[in-house]
Each structure stands twice: as structure tokens, then as C-alpha cells.
């Protein structure tokens, strides 16, 4: 295939890649101009790498019919496309949270070089500035204007009363007693819904215009087709989900700055902000684990199935041995040992952020070690079948080298299994993070993660009255992500599994 052919086949992919590159360059430029110092964490770099790999794979898949047609089928699945929109929203937040930098210190000495604050921020932090910086003293319920516990307050006239103190930021624009909060919230919700409707309408109109132009139909007919669900892609469902996402954003903008949507935790941090920050941790665990284990699983699985003999025996032995250790115990053992190691080499890490980041990466590796065996076994079985195929026999007879046979004939034919495994593993890993953090062998307690939120909340369950919002926020955020991932993986599996296709 010529370069021109490649380009014409991959125009969409190419454009997306260029757009991403442009965004990255712009970000770097903005940082330079604003005097920000970028900080590269290991997981950040791996996330960027993952992005590049995803682009390359998309380019590869768009050229190969056996990969392209299932994806086209995925696009026609209603639930699948709805979950894609949700997943993209999560990924966007995760990516915004993966660009770390140090802002310059406020007071600079003229003569010396620029100094930077010790604090490392992400784009998400900056975007959520009004939410993240509003720290109360302690617990407060969602949308509260007063704290959750009584304190002794000194009145202006000198007397002391025990009462719920007024929050510093929650509903601060209201009067001193926070009167009219319910009305204010209702007004803001209405404003947010209206704003979302307007923004959404503009988007929807543009999409309909493009569709009408593509199909050469009247705009009015196209609107009817979309509303009636008669379009080729499930645009009605996609637009509905997009509206929900936009609504979530406008609600955040309208209410997040004025109230604590999900209340505050023990040290007064906004719970909604924590839940948003936790998205990155969840995504990192769900994706990087697979990225790390994938090369091993694919290499060993194919080698075992293709070469058979003693190589097969050795690889089977290794994965049976690893598999026979209960996963959670192996993780526990490894993380315990990591803690010892990190405390011994405490000097090797510059900041706690870097240390926590490496810990997260190590957790991904350990999870990868415990989870690669399933995929490896499947790939071995598939390669065993494939190596008996006539075209492989022909290739062997013609003296094609083993490596070439593997990369050219076997790898492309097991690609769908790899893909299904990646998507299927994701939701399980996100849920596993919460359990591991609860056991105390997950991510660092100082890191934002849903597991840590739940873990802290379990002590608050015993309080009377109960503090339930941290728990609820973590569960809601997790549930939406995992549900979307499950529905998406169903769509992918249905599209790729030939057996299911033949039946329906």
C-alpha cells in the first residue's frame, strides 16, 4: 500500500492524531508562556503512551476488514454508543487530570532563577479551582449552609451558644443564616437545565446539519429521522447521553461553586471534588494494568501455542504456578514488601506525589501479574488451533521464519481475543481497586481514589447521625463508570464473537 493510500484510508485517524498533537503543543506553549513547569509522572507518560497506541491501533484496524467491520457493528449498538459517550466523558476528565505542572511561586526574587511552588497542580485542578479551594473546617451535608456538628459559637455580644456553625463557603452568597437556600438551589438548577438545553440544542443542530448534508436530505426530515431513531447510527441515544453529560457540567458550574454538592469530609474537603479526582486513579488502574500485562500475555500465550513442546510446558507451568496463588494474597504480599522497600529507600523519591505515583504503578504491575494468566491461556488455546491451519502449513513449507509467521499470521488472528480481554478486564479492575484500598493494600491513603473514600467513610458509618455522602459519591461515580464499561464490553463482545453473530 502506498503512502497516499494509507493517508486516504486513515483520514479520520490522521486528523484526530493531528488534533491531539496540536492540543499537546498548545498546552506546552501555554505552560511556557504562563511560566508553569511541567511535571512528568510515570503514570502520566504511560497514559500518553496508551493514547498513542490506541491511535496506532485505530489506524491499523481501519485498514483491516476483520477488525473494522466489528467496530462498525459496535457503532450500531444503542447501549454501546451511549456508554461510549459516558466513557469519553470520564476519559476526558482523567486526561485533564493527567497533565501535571508546578505554578511559579507568587513572590519571585528578581535576580535568581524562577522558583516554583511545591504544589503540583493539574489542568483539572485549575478548572475546578472554585471547588477545590473551598475547604470547610469539618463535615457538612450536601447543599448544607451549616456544619453537620454543633460547636460552641461566640456571639457578638459575648455570650456562647452551642449551635451548628455557618459554613464559610457553602451557600456563602446567601445571608448570614443561609436563609432561602432551597429557593436559591431550585433557581440555580433551573438555570443549569436551561443552559444545558441551549448548549445541547446548538450541538444537536450542528450534528443534524452535518447529517443532512451527508445524506442530502432536508433538515426537517433529518430531525424527524433522528427523533424517531431511524438513523444509521443511534444518534438519538447518543444525543440524549450527550445532553446528560452537558447537564452534569452545567450543574457543576452553577451549583459546585456555591454549594458543596456532595458535602465535605472530615477535614472539610469537598467530596464532589475528591470523587472527580478519583476518576484518574480508577482509569489508570483499569487501563495501565492491562497495558503492562498485555505484552507478556500475548508473547507467552502465542509462543506456548505455536512452538508447543518444552516451551509450552515451561509457560504452562509458570502460569499455573502464578495462578494457583490466590490473587488477593499475592497482591497483599507484594504490596507489604513494597512498603518495606519504600521505607528503606525513602530518599529516592523527591515528593510524596512521585512516591504515590510509583506506588500506583507498582500496584498496576502486581495486578497485571495476577491477571495475565487468563488471557495467556486463551491465546495459547487459539494459537494451538491456528497453527494447524493450511496457510500456516504452507508458510512453514515455504520456509518462512517463525517470527514472521507469528507476527503476520497468528497475531492478527488473535487480535479480537486480546481486544475483548482488555475491555472485559477494565470494569473488574476498577472494582478491585476499591476492595484493595479497603483492605489497605491498594493505592496510597493520601491519594484520591474511590476505594480510599469508601475506606474513610466506613468509620463515619458508625457516627450518629451518619455521614453517608462520601460513600454515596464514591459509589455513584464508580457505578456509572463500571456500568458504562460493562455495557460497552457487551457491545464489543457481541460484535467480535463470531459464534454469537451466527446465532442471531
Amino acid at each position: 500500500m502506498t503512502v497516499n493510500g494509507f493517508l486516504s484510508h486513515n483520514r479520520t485517524v490522521l486528523y484526530t492524531a493531528m488534533a491531539l498533537l496540536a492540543v499537546a503543543l498548545c498546552l506546552l506553549l501555554i505552560m511556557l508562556v504562563a511560566g508553569l513547569k511541567p511535571v512528568y509522572l510515570w503514570t502520566d507518560l504511560l497514559i500518553y503512551l496508551l493514547l498513542v497506541i490506541a491511535m496506532l491501533f485505530a489506524a491499523y484496524a481501519s485498514q483491516h476488514e476483520h477488525l473494522r467491520s466489528p467496530w462498525l457493528r459496535v457503532r450500531h449498538s444503542r447501549l454501546g454508543m451511549m456508554s461510549v459517550v459516558i466513557l469519553l466523558a470520564y476519559v476526558a476528565i482523567g486526561l485533564l487530570d493527567s497533565v501535571h505542572f508546578r505554578p511559579p511561586a507568587a513572590h519571585q526574587e528578581r535576580s535568581t532563577a524562577t522558583t516554583y511552588t511545591g504544589e503540583v497542580l493539574t489542568i483539572l485542578d485549575v478548572l475546578l479551582q472554585p471547588i477545590s479551594s473551598r475547604v470547610e473546617r469539618t463535615y457538612s451535608a450536601p447543599f448544607a449552609t451549616h456544619a453537620y456538628t454543633k460547636e460552641t459559637i461566640e456571639r457578638p455580644d459575648g455570650t456562647q451558644v452551642r449551635d451548628f456553625p455557618r459554613l464559610e463557603f457553602g451557600g456563602a452568597h446567601l445571608g448570614t443564616q443561609g436563609e432561602g437556600a432551597a429557593r436559591d438551589i431550585a433557581v440555580n438548577v433551573v438555570i443549569a437545565v436551561l443552559a444545558a438545553l441551549v448548549i445541547w440544542a446548538v450541538h444537536a443542530y450542528v450534528i443534524v446539519l452535518v447529517l443532512a448534508g451527508k445524506h442530502k436530505t432536508m433538515v426537517r426530515d433529518q430531525v424527524r429521522a433522528v427523533a424517531g431513531g431511524r438513523t444509521e447510527l443511534p444518534w438519538r441515544e447518543i444525543m440524549l447521553t450527550v445532553f446528560l453529560v452537558i447537564l452534569a457540567v452545567t450543574l457543576t458550574v452553577q451549583l459546585g461553586a456555591k454549594y458543596h454538592i456532595f458535602g465535605t469530609d472530615k477535614v472539610g474537603q469537598d467530596v464532589y471534588f475528591q470523587a472527580l479526582k478519583s476518576i484518574r486513579t480508577g482509569l489508570v488502574i483499569g487501563t495501565l494494568t492491562t497495558l503492562i500485562m498485555l505484552p507478556f500475555a500475548v508473547l507467552f500465550g502465542i509462543m506456548a501455542g505455536y512452538f508447543r513442546g518444552w516451551i509450552d510446558d515451561v509457560i504452562q507451568y509458570v502460569y499455573t504456578t502464578l495462578n494457583s496463588i490466590p490473587g488477593i494474597l499475592l497482591i497483599a504480599a507484594a504490596v507489604l514488601l513494597l512498603q518495606v522497600y519504600m521505607e528503606r529507600n525513602a530518599d529516592a523519591f523527591n515528593t510524596t506525589l512521585e512516591r504515590n505515583d510509583l506506588k500506583l504503578l507498582f500496584l498496576c504491575m502486581i495486578l497485571g501479574i495476577t491477571s495475565w494468566t487468563g488471557l495467556c491461556r486463551m491465546l495459547r488455546g487459539e494459537s494451538l488451533k491456528l497453527r494447524e491451519m493450511d496457510y500456516i502449513t504452507a508458510a512453514t513449507a515455504m520456509g518462512v521464519r517463525h517470527m514472521v509467521i507469528i507476527t503476520r499470521h497468528i497475531l492478527p488472528n488473535v487480535m479480537h481475543i486480546v481486544l475483548i480481554a482488555i475491555v472485559l478486564d477494565f470494569s473488574g479492575l476498577v472494582l478491585a481497586e476499591a476492595v484493595l484500598s479497603y483492605v489497605g493494600i491498594g493505592v496510597d491513603p493520601a491519594m484520591n481514589s474511590w476505594g480510599n473514600m469508601i475506606n474513610q467513610a466506613r468509620f463515619e458509618m458508625a457516627r450518629d447521625p451518619m455521614v453517608w455522602w462520601s460513600l454515596l459519591a464514591a459509589f455513584i461515580f464508580m457505578f456509572i463508570l463500571v456500568l458504562a464499561a460493562n455495557l460497552f464490553s457487551d457491545a464489543v463482545r457481541d460484535a467480535f464473537d463470531p459464534r454469537l453473530r451466527a446465532r442471531s
Binding site: S324, L329, L336, L337, L483
Partner: protein, 325 residues
């Protein structure tokens, strides 16, 4: 058959040796006993004498694999590898950091774990199969569609939520059963109901959906069509033909989990305060008692391998088509 079982058992030995070597490498080579001692005594300002004493108290003062100072066979036996790792093969687990015998603790704590895990497993299997069969019976109707959607939603909820939510709703709001705790004998019942219930609810999504696919696969096969052509009723077809054949993959799939029931569930037991092996492990992880974690890793592997052997045997028992090679 006997020869086959013996061969399977012999095949398990190298795997157990592998597990043993991995745990040895993890616990003694990656982190030396010195590190462990330093960690337990506090990281900063630990004197060498204190470390030596700690190692002596816990029996970690021997060389790793080869002891040149000892005569004869003791060169090999008087080492950490032999004393702390090889002995696991005869289930001699040694003592925990608090001086208790690990083997004794395990034999005591096994039963509460089993008291939760076994009812959960059996009742769960019954519930999941019933639900899956129901969906298969009403396939391609709204019952089936909504059943699957319900399954996916149940699957997407974190297991922690079921436990916390269940504890809150049933114990705190309705006061039906105590929140947590354990008692011997018949009195254990009221403590066991909630964890068993939650265990079943937590697994219903994934398992039912999986079993449904298995049943649907069987329904698509030729012998089902023949049965229908004979004029059998749909219920007869479902129970006599589909259920029976569908049980083969289901049973062989769950057999591997049976020995592991002894280990119990880490999360459930720690939430409900059940003095089983799961909470034992959690406490050991919390207090960084490496001896217990090491023992549990080995025990878990042994039980898993027993499960694998049982799976192979059950294949040959329920499915005569599989020839023993």
C-alpha cells in the same frame, strides 16, 4: 482412573514447589529478615542488637539457604529456607509474631469461614441457576431483556456497597439481625444470615448472566430441537435436556472454588467480624505479620491445586465423552 488421579497429584508437586520458591523469594530475598525487623521495630534509630534479638525471637537468625557452620545434614536443614519454607509442605506453619501457633489458629478459624462460605456457595448456586433458567425460559421477551439489564446493573455495583448497604438497611434500620459478630453452634445462625444473603446478592449478576449464556448455548443445539420435535413440553425440554447438559460446564466451573471455601472471604469476614481465616489474613496484613501471610499464601495455593484436580476428576465423572488419556 486411579492412575489418572495419581498422575494429576504428581503433577501438582512441581507447582507447589514453584509456589514455595516464589513465596520464599518474595519474603526473604526481595526483603531480607533485617528489613522485616527494622520495620517492626520502627524504621528510625534501630540498634543492631535489637535487630539481632528480633531475628532470634522469630527464628530468622539462620542463613538463607546454606549454613556452613553446622555439621552434616544440618548444613541444609538449619536454614531459613528449610525451617520456614520447606516445612510448609507438611503444614508446619510455625508461630506468628504474637507467639501463637499458626497451624492451630488456622484449624480453629477454618470452621467459621466454612459456616459462611458453604451456605453462600450452595444457596447461591441454586439461586443463580434458577434465575438463569428463568431468563432462558423467557428468552427474547421483556423478562429476559430486563433480567440481563438487571444482571449488568447488579454486576456494576461494588461489592462493598452491598455489604455496607445491607448492614445499614437490615441491621441498623430494621434491627433484624446484629451488625456483626459470631457465636458458636446454633446461635451462630443470626450472625450468618446477613453475610450469606449479601454474598448471594453480590454474585447474582455475574453468575446468572454467565449461566444464562450456557443454557442458551444448549438450547440452540440439535438434541433440543429433536426433543421439541418429539412433542415434549417446553418445561420438560428445559429441565430434562437443557438443565442437565448445562450443568456440566457450570459444575466443572465451580468445583475449583470448593476447596477455597475454607479460606473464606477477606472482605465479608472483616466487615461482619467473623473470626474466620479471611479476617485472620486481613489482620495479618494490617499488622504486617509476614509469617501468617506466607502461610495463607501457601495454604491458598494448595487448596487451589486440589480444586484443579477435583475439576479434572469431575469432568471425567459427569461427561463420559472425555476420555482419560
Amino acid at each position: 482412573m486411579i492412575a489418572y488421579i495419581i498422575r494429576r497429584i504428581l503433577y501438582a508437586i512441581p507447582i507447589l514447589i514453584g509456589v514455595n520458591l516464589i513465596t520464599f523469594a518474595l519474603f526473604f530475598i526481595v526483603n531480607s529478615p533485617d528489613d522485616m525487623a527494622r520495620m517492626h521495630l520502627g524504621m528510625k534509630r534501630v540498634t543492631d542488637e535489637a535487630i539481632v534479638k528480633w531475628k532470634q525471637d522469630h527464628g530468622y537468625d539462620r542463613p538463607l539457604v546454606y549454613n556452613g557452620d553446622q555439621p552434616g545434614l544440618s548444613k541444609v536443614t538449619d536454614t531459613i529456607f528449610f525451617q520456614n519454607s520447606v516445612r510448609l509442605f507438611v503444614f508446619d506453619f510455625g508461630v506468628a509474631d504474637n507467639g501463637r501457633d499458626i497451624g492451630f489458629d488456622i484449624s480453629q478459624r477454618m470452621w467459621p469461614s466454612l459456616a459462611i462460605a458453604l451456605p453462600t456457595f450452595l444457596t447461591g448456586l441454586l439461586v443463580y441457576i434458577t434465575f438463569a433458567l428463568l431468563m432462558a425460559f423467557f428468552r427474547a421477551t421483556y423478562i429476559d431483556v430486563w433480567g440481563v439489564i438487571l444482571c449488568v446493573m447488579l454486576m456494576s455495583v461494588s461489592g462493598l456497597f452491598y455489604i455496607i448497604g445491607g448492614q445499614y438497611l437490615i441491621s441498623k434500620m430494621l434491627h433484624l439481625v446484629p451488625i456483626s459478630g459470631y457465636d458458636d453452634g446454633v446461635h451462630a445462625f443470626k450472625f450468618l444470615v446477613l453475610p450469606v444473603l449479601i454474598g448471594i446478592v453480590g454474585g447474582v449478576g455475574g453468575s446468572s448472566r454467565w449461566y444464562r449464556t450456557i443454557f442458551l448455548e444448549e438450547i440452540g443445539k440439535d438434541f433440543v430441537r429433536t426433543a421439541r420435535a418429539k412433542g415434549l413440553r417446553e418445561t420438560t425440554v428445559l429441565f430434562r435436556h437443557v438443565l442437565k447438559n448445562g450443568m456440566i460446564p457450570i459444575l466443572t466451573g465451580v468445583v475449583v472454588a470448593i476447596p477455597l471455601l475454607f479460606i473464606g472471604s477477606l472482605i465479608t469476614e472483616s466487615f461482619f467480624g467473623i473470626p474466620g481465616l479471611g479476617s485472620y489474613t486481613i489482620d495479618a496484613i494490617g499488622s504486617q505479620d509476614f509469617a501468617i501471610v506466607r502461610s495463607m499464601v501457601f495454604l491458598g495455593s494448595v487448596l487451589y491445586i486440589i480444586g484443579l484436580i477435583l475439576t479434572d476428576i469431575s469432568y471425567t465423572l459427569v461427561d463420559p465423552r472425555i476420555r482419560l488419556q
